[in-house]
């Protein structure tokens, strides 16, 4: 038997306690990609986002609804680019240099969502997400999974990609 076993057992005990405490202390987090549409900020769960690309070389496709901006070829993969502003009840103003395509996926379906600008990637506590009660009757509420209020009072509407993709298919 190791001469130091008496001490080592104490150290192991303390280590186990720390791990246990750590588990309780660590609150589940969520990473969100924040982007702007009109004057509002929206969020998509980072795990649903594959990449962000500049809005260029867009090809319009005939016989598609007005919210389909077109298609782009992103390194050999042709992607639909969707303008979700109409679905969200936002004005469809012209796009500037800051516009980006956010390639998002849900259950095997992938599409580029047009953003007027990408703001930042943040990490928030899951407990800080609130249900979208305030806006539930509006278009934004229909496609929101939750709302996050930041320290500067900026509201972020976290989009429900499944609801949005389903609505856009119609």
């Amino acid at each position: 038997m190791n001469d130091n076993e008496d001490i080592l057992s104490l150290v192991r005990q303390r280590s186990q306690q720390q791990i246990g405490q750590g588990v309780h202390r660590q609150e589940p987090k969520i990473r969100l990609l924040i982007f702007r549409l009109g004057q509002e900020w929206y969020g998509l769960e980072a795990q649903q986002v594959r990449e962000i690309s500049r809005l260029s070389n867009l090809t319009r496709v005939p016989l598609t609804p007005s919210h389909v901006l077109g298609v782009v070829n992103l390194r050999g993969e042709v992607m639909a680019v969707i303008d979700v502003r109409k679905a969200l009840g936002l004005p469809q103003t012209g796009l500037s240099e800051t516009a980006r395509i956010i390639v998002a996926r849900h259950e095997g379906l992938e599409a580029g969502i047009m953003a007027e600008a990408v703001v930042e990637m943040i990490e928030a506590n899951r407990s800080s997400l609130q249900p979208p009660l305030m806006a539930v009757e509006s278009d934004r509420g229909r496609y929101a999974s939750s709302i996050l209020q930041q320290k500067d009072d900026q509201l972020i509407i976290v989009l429900n990609l499944a609801a949005l993709f389903n609505a856009l298919k119609v």
Binding site: N57, T59, R60, V61, P62, L63, T64, P65, V68, V71, V72, N73, V78, M79, A80, I82, L109, E110, A111, F165, L168, K169
Partner: protein, 175 residues
């Protein structure tokens, strides 16, 4: 009716040496590709060659511009069909593309057609699933990577025509 994928396959299967001939057609500010074998005839078009559609005719078939030639072939506004809008007002100039649709010959008025180009099958892409599900009519069957920065939608003109308008057009075509 063939599924979209089968339709793409049948379009591709019949090509020789893994390529196909495409006629590039201008629609508004955009260009689309039409398989040459789907076009019976392409000719210059002058407004005087057209007997304009009457109000009741455009009400029944919104993209109808009028009637062409001794055979009284219906002439449809190709741009209006592809953008799902009523026919454009005059002046009507450009070219006329004759296409067969279920034993009926339809004329499609186009703004312009470039020369025929040969596209490699390897440069064709299927439509993204989301777009395919949103198509108003199954007329766009693939995308052609013409240049590194240019995709061209490939369109089957006969499928751009709304089947609901076919009966109306048949009734109007009767002497």
């Amino acid at each position: 009716m063939l599924s979209k994928f089968e339709s793409v396959k049948s379009n591709l299967k019949s090509t020789q040496d893994d390529s196909l001939e495409l006629l590039l057609v201008q629609v508004g500010e955009d260009w689309v590709g039409v398989r040459v074998r789907q076009v019976l005839h392409l000719s210059r078009f002058e407004p005087t060659q057209l007997v304009p559609a009457q109000a009741h005719e455009t009400l029944a078939v919104p993209p109808l511009l009028g009637w062409f030639g001794l055979e009284k072939r219906p002439v449809l506004d190709f741009g209006a069909l592809l953008h799902d809008t009523p026919a454009s007002p005059a002046p009507l100039t450009g070219q006329i593309m004759l296409v067969e649709n279920e034993r009926m010959i339809l004329g499609f008025l186009i703004q312009a057609a470039q020369e025929i180009e040969r596209a490699k099958v390897a440069d064709l892409y299927l439509l993204p699933a989301l777009i395919e599900q949103m198509l108003l009519r199954p007329a766009v069957w693939a995308l052609w990577q013409r240049r590194p920065d240019e995709l061209v939608p490939l369109v089957a003109p006969d499928a751009a025509f709304d089947p609901a308008h076919r009966q109306a057009l048949l009734a109007l075509s009767r002497p």
